[in-house]
């Protein structure tokens, strides 16, 4: 039996073949990833919140009334963190709606004719932050599990009225896991 050795004549065909293979395979390697890789981590905690004082009534208001005339106490609204971790809370309302028997709503916003808004503060009595009618804003951050915290809400009444229909809005307090950001 004779051994056949690959000489220079053989290399002449082998090298172009390798080049063609390399060029042909390169695009296929580039297309190797055809799907995203997804990893999901869930934090095993419970979020829960409750409140005891869930009502407010400013009574009959006059044009231009604000916290200096309508509110003399602080901490008259509350919430308790019933979950297992510290929470951040936000506050938002859903604009003004006339109650049964009425026909006209105020506009929600800075005081003007038939236009008023709610303001709040977290136990300071400053009433210095506006409750937005659409976007939640921070109420109190980093409330420990099982802790109860307090805040107060005031009214910036319209500067003038064209009707006397009673107005109503709902405040929503939302709890989420405390963010270190």
């Amino acid at each position: 039996m004779t051994k056949r050795r690959l000489g220079l004549g053989g290399l002449k065909y082998l090298l172009p073949l390798l080049v063609i293979l390399a060029i042909a395979l390169t695009p296929l390697m580039a297309l190797g990833d055809t799907a995203a890789t997804v990893t999901i981590n869930a934090t095993p905690i419970y979020i829960a919140i409750s409140n005891v004082n869930n009502t407010f009534d400013f009574g009959t208001v006059a044009a231009g009334d604000d916290n200096s005339t309508l509110n003399t106490t602080t901490d008259w609204l509350d919430f308790t963190n019933d979950g297992t971790v510290a929470i951040d809370t936000t506050i938002v309302c859903d604009n003004w709606t006339y109650v049964a028997g009425g026909s006209s709503s105020w506009t929600y916003g800075a005081p003007a004719e038939d236009t008023g808004q709610l303001v709040y503060s977290a136990g300071t009595g400053a009433y210095d932050t506006v409750v937005d009618g659409t976007t939640p804003s921070t109420l109190i951050d980093d409330v420990a599990a099982d802790a109860t915290d307090y805040f107060e809400v005031g009214l910036d009444a319209p500067t003038s009225f064209t009707h006397g229909d009673e107005q109503y809005t709902t405040l929503t307090i939302t709890a989420s896991e405390h963010s270190a950001d």
């Binding site: 090298l15 390798l18 297309l31």
Partner: protein
């Protein structure tokens, strides 16, 4: 000498080929069919749940979804997580699940120094369409706990991208009395790479 030139030419051709990897352009109306999916279940605390049957709660509080090769897109069928909702009331009621912005309004690229915590910017509202809530108004019997699947269908893009987004799902009992009502929210963090 001739073989040296041929060899050099071959190397040059291979290098040129590597440098011209074509971008992956998935068809607009299809999604990748394969997906590597790792699910770390939210462990439940049976003792805590037994002692808190009378209050509303949700779990988990935070879900982080990391997507490698995010530009290839994620099928909603298996990218997401089941949100558990408990009705602590003595009556059957409906809960509403809505998508909301996170509490923090971080600007892109802005964070603490040194960077110990990744910064997640709010998910732009135009991307809320990625989120699919299988049942946005679940009806729960008294003391019942129900799971609702929250899926994230991130569409494929024609170029690589990376970003960190945060968004929340808010759960609120529909029939709460009084002008001050409460709600709970889960934080969803998307780490797209």
């Amino acid at each position: 000498m001739r073989w040296l030139i041929i060899s050099l030419l071959a190397i040059v051709l291979v290098l040129v080929g590597c440098g011209q990897q074509p971008a992956y352009n998935p068809p607009a109306d299809t999604q990748p069919t394969a997906n590597n999916y790792t699910d770390i279940p939210s462990t439940t605390d049976e003792d805590w749940e037994a002692n808190h049957q009378n209050i509303n709660w949700i779990s988990p509080g935070k879900v982080t979804i990391t997507v490698i090769n995010a530009h290839l897109g994620t099928p909603a069928s298996n990218t997401g997580y089941s949100l558990r909702i408990h009705n602590g009331g003595d009556y059957a009621t409906t809960f509403r699940i809505t998508v909301t912005a996170p509490n923090t309004q971080q600007l892109p690229g802005y964070g603490d120094f040194p960077c110990t915590n990744p910064v997640y910017e709010p998910l732009p509202p135009e991307h809320y369409s990625w989120i699919h809530i299988t049942n946005p108004t679940p009806f729960l019997l008294a003391k019942e706990t129900k799971e609702v699947w929250i899926g994230f269908n991130i569409p494929a893009r024609d170029k690589p991208w990376s970003n960190r987004y945060e968004v929340q799902t808010r759960v609120q009992e529909a029939g709460q009395a009084g002008p001050v009502v409460t709600a709970t929210a889960t934080r969803w963090q998307l780490d797209l790479q």
